[in-house]
Symmetry: C2
Subunit: 106 residues, 2 copies
Amino acid sequence: MSSEPRFDELIHAPTRLSLVSLLAATDWADFRFLRDSLEMSDSALSKQLTTLEEAGYAEIRKAFIGKRSRTSVKLSPRGHEAFAGHVAALQQIVARSGLAVLPDQV
Amino acid sequence: MSSEPRFDELIHAPTRLSLVSLLAATDWADFRFLRDSLEMSDSALSKQLTTLEEAGYAEIRKAFIGKRSRTSVKLSPRGHEAFAGHVAALQQIVARSGLAVLPDQV
DNA sequence: AGCCTCACTTTCCCAGTAGGCAAGTGCTTT
DNA sequence: AAAGCACTTGCCTACTGGGAAAGTGAGGCT
């Protein structure tokens, strides 16, 4: 299920690439988990999540676990699409270097 | 010969990633070839090449082909190292998602 | 009620970046 | 002498990401 290559500037930015990649691997991931895994500040993460949400790449859910609020996020289908497309674009770029032969999930 | 993963911000920037990747595939590449392949302006390319040179990632050679000057560039060993390291870092990041940038080294 | 904490969010600010455009450089050609 | 080629440099503007700190809303404590 390889997507069409489509370089996505929004996803490419270093922190977002890590973030999206992590989200792609999980279902709902919660704020603290992401913040700690990526070692970023609350504000930086919050802003990036908002960015992803506004792009339609992520869904943000605020739920109450017990009495404390917890924010969780997951990639939307569009987010998954975009990520896969971006990775395909990276493959294509890198392939030019001879470093990699395109895998194409043979 | 896979390098140690080492995310390189300098290489990561979109245009430079394409540029370095292209350089990694060639030996000496000339200015016009790069400019046309990457569809960038003279000034943008010139600046990026200077950036790569200052980082020690590229060598710039000005030669005279006939009577006209030609500028060519090639990745230095350090540049190759950094690029390979960066690709490995991307691979590592993306691997978390279950996708792959590189085919082998599963 | 008033104050504190938790879990983020938002605002303000700033440094860094990339690229367009225009002018400059060095050499050659007419 | 003027124009052209092959870049290079300077100027400027738009945009970005992150730190610091104040703000928000719900729950707890006394």
